[in-house]
Symmetry: C2
Subunit: 795 residues, 2 copies
């Protein structure tokens, strides 16, 4: 296998779910999924495509409580192509004798190829090759090509190519009791002798979605004379094409599909658009050429090269491929956020959580205009976040923990423990720290790009509203003479409550309190950076007074942070929790990532223990370097001694079950400085997260987008020690030598740079078109990089 292909040999029905999720091909506009390509025409194996940001509200009854929620809508399935020989049964992969089977995802071109040979009941041997892609150049097109070669027989071959609207959200087992049908068919019609149209509408949000397909048959470059017949069923339309074939001769079906939704821009009505654009689409090969060019250009921007560990590099590329299929230049103009599982599966119902915290810093230094567009997704939902704060009796903006199209809190109120079968209250909406993620990303986008226009029109407003939320949630506690924040949840979802309490959250989560101060300081910084007129207008518009700003400054100096045993406490009262018998539980259960479910099934409660699902205090060291964190603690009057960071890492590392794929990213990050070997262990774990489905079944429900991006960012920012802070580019590599020299292109404040890091030196080269000198700092040494030159720092 080269560094650019991802292959599976052999047909393995048990592995199909995982393979399917990992071999998804698509682009930012829609993602294509499909298991065994032509195994049946009934749609079950064709989960189809998703349109970014098209959500549907679902209402269902769980344990007597109505639960309203939003679900990503499964688009019509454009993949159905099947065939039969001499009027026999339609091809069924499970009934065939498979002689060879090979499935390859071409990472460089985002094309999925399947080749197989089989023998049917009549002893005929047939070879089948399928290629498909969702067009990265023209985001409204997908293309599929199926070539069939009768090896040892001649006769009548019938191919069936269709569009299927009978799709449902059924990928996640535990959601199967919820409403799963989100698409209604409006119309099916034939557009011409080889083309048909399927027009649908989402059931609640009433968004039109239309697809048109053109299916043509070829022998090499010659169009086949074939017998054609329209085939229609409810919500399903296609053509049967029959042709005589001879042994050794191949015929190829090309299926070109256009798709439009009512959320697209520059369109009239989606069905009219799909029908209008279809005849403009060239042949498979022409579309493929343009698609590949678009990917070549994307890969240039996202180039990562390391000399060692080529398997790791291939996984990193797989991760980038999936990231870029979900978020790409094609999404810049759409109103889409970053769903936790990409556009690959239905887990979390496609909701947007805090995953962007692990994604945007990577994008900032590659395609910052994409980050900008994605931040505007949050900006558009500021009015809703303001209303949420107001409804909670607070000020500013309270961003939702889980959300969909309209920016409301979509967190489930109840969730199921599959181990106990019990439905339990879900208090995770208390993770108001989502606002920290939004604010952090605003600031880091600005630091990486210097985009003052964004800061003026959007960024500062978001920072100010989020800072205000924290200020209004914080209260002054006379006892300790400090500000406290009560009733929240930190990133660690094992701690939603104090033992025995019911649903009030925990108090003074260290991560939340410290980062709230950081957000407040950045809001103050931003206000001083934007033009005076804009600042005046913003303050009047949001109703911010100088008195409130004074309170912010006060909070920024006297926020409470809990400590115990020489470490930062995850939250106030953490020290009183019991120690868990980690060894005992590991022995008894093996995999204890979801310790919460184990304990609940035992009648116990994970809230009782010093046990974390994922990094919480340690998130501080992930987001802020020691150089940034030190002065922040100093300002709060605490101070962090030299060894504080490793001490905290050691303390929490042994008390964490890593029940989230993000945990490995964060731990690799924080360990990179002190424990390089252990960092590599977590880096490898991050690379394995989806490809080996380490959480046992979660990958087939959709890939873990944040962990995928995080794995790349471990190379880009962590091991390189790259920071964009205080208007400077800082480097401080702790480079794992086993990876060999790293080479990657970056954009910093519109300057194209090429970064090269090895175990003993760092080179930064000015890319072509760099306009003016920039200052770069590496471990205290400062150098000016001028256009056309390279600066080198020995390590």
């Amino acid at each position: 296998m080269s560094g650019w292909t991802w292959c599976y040999e052999g047909y393995d029905p048990a592995e199909e779910g995982l393979r399917e999720s990992l071999c998804t091909v698509g682009n930012g506009y829609l993602a294509t999924r499909g298991a065994a390509p032509e195994s049946s025409a009934d749609g079950v194996h064709y989960p189809g495509t998703y349109a970014a940001g098209v959500y549907n509200r679902l209402e269902t009854e769980i344990s007597g409580k109505g639960v309203e929620n939003e679900s990503l809508v499964n688009l019509p399935n454009w993949l159905p192509v099947t065939f039969r020989v001499e009027g026999g049964p339609w091809f069924d992969i499970d009934a065939a004798e498979i002689l060879e089977y090979r499935q390859c995802l071409d990472l460089r071109r985002a094309v999925l190829t399947r080749r197989f040979r089989y023998r049917d009941g009549a002893g005929r041997t047939t070879a089948v090759t399928q290629r498909r892609f969702a067009d990265m150049r023209f985001a409204h097109a997908c293309a599929l090509e199926v070539t069939i070669t009768p090896e040892d027989w001649s006769g009548r071959l019938e191919l069936r190519s269709a569009l299927d609207g009978r799709v449902a959200n059924t990928l996640v087992d535990r959601y199967r009791d919820l409403a799963s049908g989100h698409l209604q068919t409006v119309d099916t019609r034939e557009l011409g002798e080889d083309s048909c149209l399927l027009e649908t509408q989402t059931s609640q949000s009433k968004i039109r979605v239309a697809m048109a397909a053109r299916s043509t048959l070829w022998r090499g470059e010659r169009r086949c004379d074939a017998e054609r017949r329209l085939v229609e069923e409810p919500s399903w339309i296609g053509h049967d094409v029959a042709v005589d074939v001879a042994a050794g001769d191949s015929v190829t079906l090309e299926k070109i599909v256009t798709v439009f939704t009512g959320r697209d821009r520059a369109v009239s009505e989606p069905a009219a658009e799909a029908a209008r654009w279809l005849p403009r689409m060239g042949r498979f090969g022409t579309l493929l050429e343009d698609h590949c060019l678009a990917w070549t250009q994307l890969w240039e921007r996202f180039d990562v090269r390391i000399e060692g560990e080529q398997h790791a590099l291939r996984t990193v590329r797989l991760h980038l491929l999936h990231l870029l299929q979900t978020l790409s230049p094609n999404t810049v103009d759409l109103d889409v956020g970053v769903p936790a599982r990409g556009l690959h599966g239905e887990a979390y119902r496609g909701h947007v959580l805090w995953d962007e915290l692990f994604v945007f810093p990577l994008l900032n230094l590659r395609v910052p205009d994409l980050t900008r567009a994605l931040l505007r997704y949050r900006y558009r939902r500021l009015p809703e976040a303001r209303e949420a704060a107001r409804a909670a009796g607070l000020r500013g903006a309270m961003y939702p923990w889980q959300s969909g199209s309209d920016g409301r809190e979509e967190n489930q109120r109840l969730h199921l423990n599959p181990m106990s079968g019990r439905w339990l209250p879900d208090p995770t909406w208390r993770q108001h720290h989502i606002g920290i993620a939004v604010a952090y990303n605003v600031w880091h986008y600005y630091q990486a790009t210097g985009d003052r226009e964004f800061l003026t029109h959007y960024g500062t407003r978001m920072l100010v509203e989020i800072a205000w939320f924290w200020s209004s949630l914080a209260s002054y506690d006379r006892r300790c003479g400090r500000y406290v924040i009560r009733g929240v949840m930190g990133p660690d979802e094992f701690h939603s409550d104090y033992p025995g309490a019911t649903g009030d959250g925990i108090d003074n989560n260290a991560y939340t309190n410290v980062m709230a101060v950081w957000v407040i300081l950045r809001a103050i910084d931003a206000l001083s950076l934007i033009p005076e007129q804009a600042r005046r207008e913003l303050m009047r518009t949001v109703g911010l007074q100088d008195g409130e700003l004074a309170r912010w400054r006060d909070i920024s100096r006297s926020m409470f942070v809990p400590f115990h045993d020489g470490v930062i406490s995850q939250f106030e009262g953490y020290e009183d929790l019991a120690e868990l018998d980690w060894e005992g539980y590991r022995r008894r259960y093996g995999d204890i990532q979801r310790l919460d479910r184990i304990l609940e099934a035992e009648g116990d409660d994970v809230n009782r223990y010093k046990a974390s699902k994922q990094a919480d205090v340690l998130m501080l060291f992930y987001l802020l370097s020691a150089d940034e964190l030190g002065p922040l603690f100093d300002r709060l009057g605490y101070g962090l001694d030299r060894d504080a960071i490793p001490r905290n890492i050691d303390y929490y590392l042994v008390r964490t079950s890593h029940g989230s794929t993000l945990s490995a990213v964060v731990h690799a990050w924080v360990l990179a400085r002190a424990h390089r070997e252990r960092a590599m262990e977590f880096f490898v774990r991050t690379l394995r997260a989806d490809i080996t489905d380490i959480q046992g079944g979660t990958t087939p429900e959709g890939i873990h987008l944040a962990a995928m991006a995080g794995s790349v960012d471990l190379l880009q920012r962590c091991f390189s020690g790259l920071e964009t802070r205080e208007d400077r580019l800082l480097l401080n590599p702790y480079w794992p030598e086993s990876l060999g020299t790293l080479t990657l292109p970056l954009r910093y404040r519109e300057h194209p740079l090429l970064l090269r890091i090895s175990g003993n030196r760092v080179d930064v080269t000015a890319g072509p078109g760099m306009q003016q000198p920039i200052e770069i700092e590496c471990r205290g040494q400062t150098a000016e990089l001028t256009p056309g030159s390279t600066v080198r720092f020995p390590l």
Copy 2:
């Protein structure tokens, strides 16, 4: 009248159409229109609201030819409020004896107030005051307040407040034979005792539009106990509210309305959004306060002050008000263009033509992010423009002369001459110079802002595609050894053909040929300005080869430009046309603006004459200063002597009927240098264009947005001689002293500046927050403006 109010005294049914168009209040998201406020509940007088960019395709049969076209959709009418006394007839303004009537548009706050007193058949005197606005802060809200005071009677007062979906596009007489109903009602329902909802869908484009209304009754600050009743009719829903009133006591109905469409962002389903946001809306006064704050901030950005001619200033503000109701910060996130008649009427069916050419240069120096958003409207339609070029056998992008949502050419194929009653072919789609307008705006946005990110991602691509179109349309003519462009139309719509020919357009329109060269040169400039990687990618993506670039350079040196009698010919062969007996026609017809219709009705053809509807050659002097034009002609090997410009002006001025409101803008502009008195005459004509409806009936069909913006730009860029060219800010005032000193704030490349111009000097002051020095040139003198300082140029 102060400089900020626009009032009419007395009720004049004959003037209602004009007043209505001029007193429209709304904002960029939607515009509100309404005639006599409570005259009836039947909707006829309530043309309602338009949503920007919501178009519907209409298909109709004219003279045996199917004509497909797009029409701006009239949104449901939210205005209906009427009342009756003691169970009598509902108020009908035409049946009442009007004692006083005054209608005032508050320009500063964009609030329309109507006050009237009337006596009814029973001799009762009643005073009515109505205020209304469409919220500039929260673009999804509108508010209306009606206060009724029985002056000399007591009794039962019933008010009726409703939402009306029975709207149609009926404002333009000559379109009445076309389909006029574009909205279908999906549902009406009561949301609560004072709230109701109307859910509709556009008939062809299937866009959901929903409105919810809350109607509450007040005596001062006290909520009234009132008897309430839901009233429903097909596509119409409202509440009747009955209350006892005493002489001299007032009751006030507050109607707060929310509106959402399926084209909005950050929404789920529009009806759900309208219902959800309605209860969050505060009272009329609270909304008004926020609305006014938003307008205060807008007026700060669009401040214009002159000491003289306060009536002119008031008209300029009226123009800005209507401009900002159509295009504002609220439109930045919408996919909307610049409809010729704003959002005020149905002429041109709401189509987007070239009006932005007269709008964006004004916006560039005030709210450049708005221009950027509007340019992206064109960028999104680049694929369609490319397909149009391809269908015509050309390369690059052929932008449509008239277009709607999907960017297709929506020009009518036939148009009616109301004077002859004949349907005639409409060849105006040959005005490919629309592409010049798009390219000009891209370049000028860049020059005013220095926004390289836009140039890199969007601007250069547009310039290149448009340049390529011109290159592919141009052919090399061996006879003259130059490139020629045949079969087009210039801006002057009187010349679609040579006399006797049928529909092939004219050849070598000077404006088109010269500006095509200008576009080609700017495309080459842009390619050299963007980063190398982006340039390489762009060229590969569009398939541009170095050979084509060489052809561009060749064209830029040898494009053919026709001349005759020492002037630039409007097009090749213009000199052979007959001279028109202007005096005779003026005598016979009075108004000869639409000479084309007059001649056609006489059996003659305007194509036979040296007669222009509007500026054509002179557009060159409008778009390019003599300093820019000179080198361009030199490059082409023609050269313009010193007096060429005034000579051309004199030649064409006497041969123009000014049948477009734009003609006055352009003529004022080109005359400003040589004939200051005549320039003022055209400036005044521009100011009068809509307020006196100089074209006799076109204003009630919608205001002329480009002329409105153009009138402001005459102050901002023309009389000031302001240019943003070659990375510099240039000034060259020819200031009409009668206007007194001009003061206006500008943004140039992110720098806030304050410009002050009088007859004898220019002051430019650095605004607060200016970061670095800039160079300013005034009539050959150059000065550096440093932060905090002022530079002065004596004239």
